[in-house]
Point group: C5
Chain length 355, copies 5
């Protein structure tokens, strides 16, 4: 199950703007690649250090700096000074348990989002924090991990020069990246949806104890998704309402489209939660129903046989004077009594519709 | 049960405006019919290709182009260019899992809705996406499937020239189509309502395990309806608030009427959900109650017979010295003991009001 | 149980403004009575046809035309033309499943409400649609049925000239009628409240299976009331916010009073729903509790007698070599074993506080 | 349990402004006492009739007329005319099931509230309606009953001249009275809170059937408190937003304090509701758990003894040819069989962790 | 479990502004320490009495007076007069059950918050009220208890002169203190989160009766946290919207950061509540499931052995004429009957998938 949150306590008591990475450090490696493009030209390279990045600040064209992995504090500060990033934004880039949000720092806009991926083996949703700094002629993206992002299609579009990306500014690039992330949510939701339908089918067929645990695991995933998705709407909505010159009106029509998608994602998460609640209800009522059936069988068998056993007990007593025992038809008489008592029971159950 | 959603994942990573049909392709056929009308004249024809449609762009009178089936991408693009449809609208026409919405693209208004129909055999609600493009003198409607729509009454009204349709513009035509779709929801709701009442009656009479599954299926249908209906209100509400010249004030009084209907539809869906929850409660409590009754019978029979069986067991023992066995009235004495123990049990249950 | 809704499907596909009565036709009779009054004069008569009504359009004084029963379409249209009623209002007058609403058609205001009555025999709430058309000098009220309305007190006030009704305009008359209807809701609520308390008492005393059905029936009534009452607030609130000259400010102070009453009605309905949920909880927990008790008795009796029965079984075996049988104190020894095993069981239950 | 509401039906159909007392008449006595004070002077007296009150209308200083008990209609009307009280306010003073509200009638402000008291014997919350009429130089308070109010501290402050009451106007006096009433709610809440904690403890220790009834009774009290407290916020909030000159800005800072208290009261009521729901959950799960335990004991004892009883039954049969009976070690063999079967059962239960 | 609230009843009936401490008095000691600093200078001292504090009112630089413990009423009043604190604020400083709030008294701003700490031994959250008075050049903080606060990091920053605290005004200091308190909530939440995960694991492994009590205790803690955290958002939100010159715009960017944190805290509390509800569901369904299993074993064993026991009973009867007894293969015949009846039962259960 996904952990509820990362260790924020590391940061308690530190002054605002202190740079502390709150996640688990998996690798010290950092990968920086830079795209510099305009409508007519295009340049892509992998750089070694922050100093090379700073050169791009005033270069003509649009620059996209993508940083995979966790930068050292001094590098991050250098970058922050170079591109005029607010210390609180720098702090949030490293606080990887940040709630998705969007903040206008005038010289640039800071966006923080969750990129989700699905671990097919453990049936687990994994979350990675993505921070975007959108300036007038640059966009810097920060990813927690080096491997695996969902931006390849955007890279391809820049390389090929198809689509509008190369013609428009860093706000459109930011939109493209956010769109990629949101689109990827649909893939996660489809996978979760398939698992929900599998569990649902198995419950409708035969409910076992593991069903509850499956439902519980799925419910927790929904809580997790809810937490990641709900603030997303505010982020995109915030960008839409943004007065800043950094977000052009021509881009807003596209952001409105992403906004619709985030609502659809949220809708689906809510729908899944409703369905999961319904599944628990079925599970519980099928358990109740089965208990009922088990008890009915026990009751019928027990009560049908109890009176005959009692009668057999009577004629099994060793009293010296026990007249029926000497009767000629004593045995058939006893059998008749037994049959009569059992049948009257059965008749009663029949009337009660238990059989 | 209706699938939770269609394959959106096909689209992940594609640039905005890419045309991808996200539904299941059932047929490659496309049927285009065109109505051109004014208050005095009227013309109806079935055309073969998109080129013929483009001729109607600047024709006098109002043109309604209805396209059944999924257009090829190049045709859709041609149509889009001809009628100045925004690429995002074109994309959404093919994204058939689109959430109902309304968007003002200045040169025209894009409306997307769900048309529901009820499969009487499988007790299933089927959903088809309807897109409307409302311009100054034209309306283009897109339907996913060739067969079965609910617009015949509108067509009839145009042909006969009765009603206001021919006197008013494409906004009134759009209203008429939306009204048809919403009216149709009432038919779906009635059918679902009838099934709910059937299931309810059967539960109040005799609850079986299948009842839960019926309730669950109905609940899922409600979730499905909720998803289709809820955004409808925003769509019609959005049209009402629309500042565009494309929606005239004279039409808004009619839209207000549809708006009331959508609220009534939503109300009914919520009412059904409440009733279904209540039904699950009855089911569960009737199951509990029955269990109680079954157990009471078991308990009464078992406990009434257990002491006599025990007494019979005692006098069935083979001890050489067992004085009662030799008593003259040993047998009646044993029977009396048995009756006394049983009756005291019965008396106890009587006092407890279990009998 | 009240039907969930009336046949709206009759109307699907018809153009807006088509007149179709969606209720069940109980009688073809129609009764029209007219009050014409001013502060000094007063006139009351029963008329035969619509034509007579039209004469009152421009008569001095205020005219209240009350129409009981369903008018024929042509009559309704004639009336509509005479008093300048919008076709959509005419349509809604006949759509008797209309959600309560209030609409300003400039020349007059259209109000639709539900009048409830309580069938004491079937414990059923019956709903009748009331439509009011409020003009400058007239008010037309439409009732579905000929018998039974709650307006007699208003009629009496007009006849006697007491109160303000005769001094003020049709807006005050409309207020009086709405007030009568809302006041009547309190009577319904009291009756329902009494039934709730009866059921509650019976559940606290002894819960039987019928209790659940009673609770369910009451819950459905609450859903029904909720549907009728909730929109009422919007109706009265809408009248309060109305800018129209037809509703004078002097009347609004009275409308505010009705508004408070509608909130009180809603409050009560919500309170009842909470109480009913609580009752289901008690019912379920008392059923659980009883099951527990039944099982405890069964368990105690069964387990106390099982070991003795087993011992009796042992000494009832017919083995040729079974030493205890020949013992002098074999029988007391066996009895002692039995008592010991039973008592240890009882002691265990005592310790567990089951006895 | 507190009745859900008082007989409003008495009033149905009466014209607005009709004076009808909707409570139960307990006594015909009425007690009127008057405080007249200014910063320097102070006068307190008990008067006999309404006429004496009217004299205070234009007296210098501030007059507080407190009326305990239900005035006769003619007296109330006389008072209303004298102090220019709106007929609807007069009506509401007698409608003792009035929802708390605040209304500005320009010449004065009408406030209606519930004063709660706690009957320690019956564990019951009793509600009494308090109406306040706040004018420019007077305040009239109406209480349903003659005995027991919570205003003594205010009276004492006026008499002693301490605090700000004598220096400020009737709006501050009204604030003081409302503050007394709201403060008193905390006392009620503490008493209810103590009972909740008692019931909670008893449930955590040993749940009996009466626990559910206690929870239910507490829940109903919460519903009752919720109904009294919720509108209180609107009342005080309304006074805060009031534009009238009758409420001075200097008083509003104090009203804001009361406002915070009402929110705290509401918060506590909601918290109690949450806790009570949680208690029902514990109760139900502890009942389930006990059932489980009872059944486990029954199952273990029954199944451990059933096979031995069966074996004893076999060797108790009277067949002439039943070889084992003649065996030398037949009896030990049988005993061994019995022990083996029982032990294997016990072993199975051990493995299942039932023992 | 944390008490629901402290004794507010002490205060009922007292005039506004009366100073009454509503908590439990633990110690009469009071500790006052004062920081006076500017960008270049810094002074820290512990003072004995209020008089020394008053000297700092007009001293240059910024003064932070921190008061631990409960001041005597006369001291508090003296301080209040000296620093122009509103009597209602003074009252609230002692009302330690105050709901978190923020109030602008023009000459200064009053903020009241809850500082939480976690008792690791009793698994209990302890709450202490913190009041802040923010003036133009001073900040006074009041803490209920002498030991243990979370402000050391701020003190350190002032002493060292690092960070912005010494460069900015008392509003930034207030922000720093609020930030410390909110940061500390994350530590509490982590500890609670760990306990939730422990309980969750133990329930998924083996649910015992204590699990419910654990869940209940955690739920109550959540209710407690919810009550402390929910108003926090309003407090910080209120400071953000504050128009007062006391809160500078440069500080608001930092407050926005705290605001995000409070939302994250609230989010986490809600998530925990959801998870706890889910855990109760698992617990209940696992109890149901186990009951089912227990009953199935009982039913199988009972019903498989009952028919054989009955048969043994028959042939244990002592009738003189009982033909089978004399048969040569009577015994094997009886054994065969027994085996057949048992096996048919087993076969039936197999078919029902109970085995």
């Amino acid at each position: 199950m996904p952990k509820l949150f990362k260790k924020r306590s590391k940061k308690a008591g530190l002054p605002p703007g202190t740079l502390v990475y709150t996640g688990e450090v998996k690798s010290k490696e950092v990968k920086i690649d830079i795209f510099n493009y305009s409508e007519s030209s295009f340049d892509e390279k992998v750089v070694k250090g922050i100093d090379e990045c700073l050169l791009y600040k005033d270069k003509p064209g649009i620059t996209w700096i993508n940083i995979d992995g966790i930068l050292k504090n001094e590098d991050l500060e250098k970058l922050g000074k170079g591109f005029n990033i607010h210390p609180l934004a720098l702090e949030d880039i490293l606080s990887v348990d940040q709630r998705p949000k969007e903040e206008d720092f005038i010289s640039n806009i800071y966006i923080v989002l969750k990129m989700l991926s699905y671990n097919n083996l453990k049936y687990e949703i994994i979350s990675e924090q993505i921070s975007l700094i959108v300036g007038t002629n640059y966009l810097i993206s920060f990813q927690e991990e080096i491997e695996g992002d969902v931006f390849n299609s955007v890279r391809e579009r820049i390389r090929s020069g198809k689509g509008k990306t190369r013609r428009l500014g860093p706000d459109y690039l930011a939109y493209s990246l956010v769109d990629c992330i949101v689109d990827n949510y649909f893939i996660i939701l489809e996978k979760v949806g398939e698992r929900i339908e599998l569990v649902e089918e198995s419950i409708l067929k035969k409910s076992s104890e593991s069903s509850v645990k499956d439902i519980h695991a799925l419910k927790r995933e929904m809580i997790f998704l809810h937490r990641s998705v709900w603030p997303l709407r505010e982020v995109v909505g915030g960008l839409l309402r943004e007065d800043s010159e950094l977000i052009k009106d021509s881009t807003k029509i596209y952001l409105r489209d992403v906004y619709d998608h985030t609502i659809q994602v949220m809708d689906t998460v809510e729908t899944y939660r409703d369905i999961l609640s319904g599944m628990l209800d079925i599970y519980l009522s099928s358990v109740s129903y089965k208990l009922n059936e088990v008890m009915r069988v026990l009751t019928i068998v027990s009560t049908v046989f109890t009176p005959p056993i009692f009668i057999a007990g009577i004629y099994g007593m060793n009293f010296e004077i026990l007249p029926e025992i000497k009767w000629r038809y004593g045995y058939p008489f006893a059998l008749f009594l037994m049959a009569a008592s059992s049948l009257s029971m059965l008749f009663y159950f029949k009337k009660k519709r238990w059989i």
